[in-house]
Point group: C2
Chain length 111, copies 2
């Protein structure tokens, strides 16, 4: 189990970020991490950040993609892996994109 690798955000392309967000499950994960972060909560484990119907192998893959896009940072903590949104860094690199994507269709509108 290799340690996680997190890209610097200036290495991340816009298309990569958008691709990571272009999936309902991953969008949901990012939303939960964002909500959780705003509420001042601790980082979320993979299981807690996603809907439970998703198979674990698939989930693991989703988190890998989110990491690769610079969207989340993961660290091991006991049995679990805790994740947090790299909000500030993403905002600095792609201003307003996360706000728009999360806000535009946050909870107010039908998806």
């Amino acid at each position: 189990m290799a340690r996680f690798t997190h890209p610097r955000l200036d290495e991340v392309q816009l298309a990569t970020l958008l691709h990571a967000l272009a999936d309902p499950a991953r969008l949901e994960i990012v939303r939960r991490l964002d909500d959780h972060g705003r509420a001042g909560g601790e980082d979320l484990a993979c299981g807690g950040a996603a809907a439970c119907e998703i198979p674990r192998a698939t989930l693991s893959n989703h988190f890998t993609i989110l990491r690769g896009a610079g969207l989340i940072e993961s660290r091991k903590h006991g049995v679990q892996v805790l994740n947090r949104l790299r909000r500030a860094e993403v905002d600095a690199r792609f201003p307003r994109v996360l706000d728009a994507v999360l806000g535009a269709n946050g909870r107010s509108q039908a998806v």
Copy 2:
């Protein structure tokens, strides 16, 4: 050659929109259509909206994806197909998303 079908934007999911934007070639097409629209220009033919190195079959596919995401409207005009960005409709459905995506990495920053 069937007539093009354009979805209503309330039928389009955020993930679908993001997926359509999550490709450098398509992002480039959308940027050009946007620039062109802002400049008050006529609609752009498929060929004119994209980098010429892309094979035509691939291009055609890109345009199909953009249409399916509600991002562009296409109409036949002689031999060519003219395209325009459905800016107002996309903005109404997903406020700020296009602005952020096009603006955040428009021409000022390195991609």
